[in-house]
């Protein structure tokens, strides 16, 4: 039953992926000509040229035929040809996704670790100045939009102090660098975007951990453990934390969606070559094949994360394993 539901979901999403971009007014060809002086070509497309190009990209055929072709292509693993980028969709997507995954992976790892650690400390020292400071600090940072924090970091660390590179994912002139030099270069370019994401996303994990820990610390088993004379640290880390982790996992799974969104804004601020700028461009350009591919990839990720959260749940909660 669950498998059938999943298949139906996938089919629905695939169909929406196809029709939604085509519901927007305009078509992929209008974006390919003039826009602004800085990006100008002396090209005014005539109606005859338009028709030829529509035919070349198969956009003149009935929608039903295009839909069948799209599904056929998907079955073969062929996502089509991006009209704007003039390259295979799979190549464009993989090229971009590497960077977004790197950015998201690093920042998620950091903010989850940081959020859980700070949440545990906060709950443990509830009511202390430390707790209050953490609460106010994380919330204040968390309520700032990620692109705003990103711009502050950019201005202070890249433009004013010049400690970190101003943007991009690597130094162009060092394209031949390999090994340690390459890693250091990439890491230096990641530092500010990752920091921006960590600063703006830690609060969620932190708050959830703190609340769950506070609840669990009040449970009988915790009191028993303390009463047995176990060391405070052992009680908190070994007894209470594992029981408080369930809502944290939920929070992380939900937060991944927000992180993708945040990453897109941060990418734009730092001209980081991720999915964010690409999806924006693909929307503006009505690049149907690329939009289809990008939405498909995003959907695959979200379903993968949901699956991972499900699996992790059953590891964390023995009660779920029986069912």
């Amino acid at each position: 039953m669950k498998a059938f539901q999943r298949i139906l979901t996938v089919f629905l999403v695939l169909t929406l992926n196809f029709f939604l971009p085509r519901l927007m007014p305009g078509d992929p060809l209008s974006y390919l000509d003039n826009e602004s002086p800085g990006s100008d070509s002396p090209l005014l497309v005539t109606e005859a040229t338009r028709q030829k190009l529509l035919a070349y990209y198969g956009l003149d055929r009935p929608l039903g035929e295009q839909y069948v072709d799209y599904l056929r292509g998907l079955a073969r693993g062929d996502l089509g040809w991006s009209i704007y980028y003039n390259a295979p969709v799979t190549g464009v997507l993989l090229g971009r996704m590497r960077w977004t995954l790197l950015l998201m992976g690093a920042s998620t790892a950091i903010y989850v670790a940081l959020g859980v650690a700070l949440g545990v400390i906060s709950a443990w020292r509830r009511g202390s100045a430390l707790d209050g400071g953490l609460l106010v600090g994380t919330l204040a940072l968390g309520s700032a939009p990620s692109f705003f924090v990103a711009m502050l970091l950019l201005i202070v660390f890249a433009i004013r102090w010049r400690v970190f590179p101003i943007g991009g994912a690597s130094t162009p002139a060092l394209f031949h660098a390999r090994g340690v030099a390459r890693v250091a270069d990439v890491a230096a370019h990641m530092a500010l975007p990752v920091t921006a994401l960590v600063l703006t996303h830690t609060w969620g994990v932190y708050l959830t951990t703190r609340n769950a820990m506070l609840g669990a610390l009040g449970e009988d088993y915790a009191r028993t453990a303390f009463a047995k004379g176990l060391r405070e640290r052992a009680v908190v880390v070994r007894h209470v934390l594992p029981n408080a982790l369930l809502p944290v996992v939920t929070e992380i799974a939900l937060r991944l969606g927000a992180t993708i969104m945040g990453a897109m804004f941060v990418e734009v601020v730092f001209a980081y070559p991720g999915m964010g700028a690409m999806i924006r461009e693909a929307c503006l350009a009505r690049d149907y094949p690329l939009l289809q591919g990008a939405f498909l990839a995003t959907m695959a990720f979200i379903m993968l994360f949901n699956l991972a959260a499900d699996l992790l749940y059953s590891r964390l909660d023995p009660r779920l394993r029986a069912t």
Binding site: G26, S36, S41, P42, I166, T171, A271
Partner: protein, 520 residues
């Protein structure tokens, strides 16, 4: 069970710590140390850095259709003729002559040119290139007009003859100076050039070779072609990184030049008093215009269109919206910096009272109209206020550009704000309301066709001036302003950017003419 959770957590923290370490790795000054430094160079290599983004794999066919895509390709590929700051110059062709009927052009080619892969360049490559580009023009956005191309033949290794079906006025302007010459030995078996992405596809005769391209990073690295036929290059490496803010990157010394236009004049002014930077200004060959739909009331009446022309304060748009970063537009659309612009057109001075009277006389007072636009909110607000003062009732509708273009192409609008480039080239007059197909005037169209085949420059200019006079009189569009462009560059940089006469190739307003990198 408990232990396994602790193990997860430890693993997780370790990962987090690794992430922190990774992201805190300090940036070495000027970037990380190079992987393999060039062996014992006598001098440091000269690197010139310009900001940019992805404009496609720089072959003639996979570059993106707009100007910057052409520019990135032009560093690798040459054309028969080229342009400098004064006009057309010989390039791969040293001389040429046109037959009396204007249909046959014979070019003498340089004999000392080799492709990047070492193969000799010959007239066969030129004949092949013209035929190939012509045959595949359907599936690419081509910025030269090859519609009148008939065939090309190599007379000998250094002479090529190009036959046209009809004479084309000033063809070196938009054809011979923009069709890139590609190597026959690389391309002859390629059926779909649109999808040919092999490294050999960038083999040209140009001053640079492509060392690195990253589509997702929007990065290009070019290296000087040591065997370039046209002389020594002033730089060893030309780099296009993607920077988030051009002015800031320029200040931070990350790039050697930055390009600005229109209301970005404010960023340019900040560099004016700084001796470390120089500024050059140029035209954008771009026009913002108010397009009327003459198939819909009230704009079906020329009096109403003229009333609008008197109502809209175009100087106020220049001052308030572009902060002085533009000039009031030529009502004949063609760029005022070119010899093609007619300087004696009616000016429809800003006169709200006259506008009111004209509108009332035309019976259009109180008419409700919808103004559509994408990204010109401030212009739209000022124009709305001007039109309401004249007696129209205006609703502004905003969309994204593709939406507005779609409505224009369908002819489904009253009045629209829309802009386009390419106005250094008089062929822009073919459809004054582009992208809307709404202007139809047989007399005008006949005049346009006549000028396109007129080989005498003075006679042609006269016809083009007549076209502009008709456009300014009939007002299918009201042109608003032409933005200006600036390049701000480091005073100590190896090269000096300049603006090309009537734009690079068919009229690209960008300063990055490959001549600036060549010792002349």
């Amino acid at each position: 069970m408990r232990r396994s959770i602790i193990t997860y957590l430890k693993w997780f923290c370790a990962l987090g710590a690794a992430g922190v370490l990774m992201s805190c790795a300090p940036a070495a000054p000027g970037g990380a140390p190079p992987g393999d430094p060039p062996a014992a160079a006598a001098q440091d290599p000269v690197v010139y850095t310009c900001p940019g983004e992805d404009w496609g794999y720089p072959t003639p066919f996979t570059r993106y259709s707009r100007g910057p895509g052409y520019i990135r390709m032009s560093f690798l590929f040459d054309t028969l003729t080229w342009k400098d700051e004064h006009g057309v110059i010989p390039w791969l062709a040293t001389e040429w002559n046109m037959s009396d009927d204007g249909r046959t052009w014979t070019f003498t080619l340089r004999g000392d040119v080799r492709w990047h892969d070492g193969e000799p360049f010959t007239a066969h490559d030129v004949a092949f290139s013209y035929q190939y580009v012509h045959d595949h023009a359907d599936q690419i956005f081509w910025s030269g007009d090859l519609a009148r191309f008939e065939r090309a033949e190599a007379l000998d290794a250094q002479t090529v003859r190009i036959h046209l079906s009809e004479p084309v006025a000033g063809p070196h302007f938009n054809v011979f100076g923009s069709v890139p010459i590609i190597p026959q030995h690389v391309w002859e078996d390629i059926d779909d050039p649109n999808r040919y992405l092999a490294p050999e596809a960038t083999t040209g005769t140009g001053p640079f070779t492509l060392a690195h391209y990253s589509k997702e990073e929007g990065v290009y690295v070019y290296e000087a072609n040591p065997d370039f036929w046209g002389g020594r290059l002033k730089v060893d490496t030309l780099v296009f990184p993607n920077v988030p803010d051009v002015a800031a990157a320029l200040r931070a010394g990350v790039i050697d030049e930055g390009s600005f236009w229109g209301n970005e004049v404010q960023a340019v002014r900040e560099f004016e008093d700084d001796p470390s930077y120089r500024i050059a200004a140029g035209p954008s060959f771009w026009v913002l215009q108010l397009i009327f739909n003459p198939e819909r009331a009230p704009f079906d009446r020329v009096d109403v269109r003229r009333a609008v022309a008197h109502a809209v304060d175009r100087q106020a748009l220049v001052d308030q919206v572009t902060h002085g970063g533009a000039v009031v537009a030529n009502l004949g659309i063609v760029a005022p910096e070119t010899a093609w612009a007619n300087p004696e057109l009616p000016d429809y001075a800003h006169d709200p009272a006259l506008a009111r009277t004209l509108l009332a006389d035309a019976g259009a007072a109180g008419a409700e109209v919808t103004l559509i636009q994408a990204g010109y909110d401030r212009e739209a607000e000022l124009i709305r206020a001007d039109l309401e003062a004249a007696g129209l009732r205006v609703t502004v509708q905003s969309g994204d550009r593709t939406t507005v273009d779609g409505l224009l192409q369908e002819g489904n609008f009253d009045i629209a704000i829309s802009g386009h480039g390419g106005i250094a080239n008089p062929s822009t007059l073919e459809n004054p309301t582009w992208p809307a197909p709404t202007s139809a005037n047989p007399t005008y169209d006949a005049l346009f066709t006549a000028q396109a085949g007129e080989l005498d420059t003075d006679a042609r200019r006269d016809l083009i001036w007549q076209l502009q006079a008709m456009a300014a009189d009939d007002l299918p569009v009201l042109t608003l302003y032409h933005p200006l462009m600036w390049v701000v560059y480091r005073a100590d940089a190896a090269v000096v950017p300049f603006y090309t006469s009537e734009g690079i190739a068919g009229g690209i307003p960008i300063e990055l003419n490959k001549l600036m990198f060549i010792e002349r």
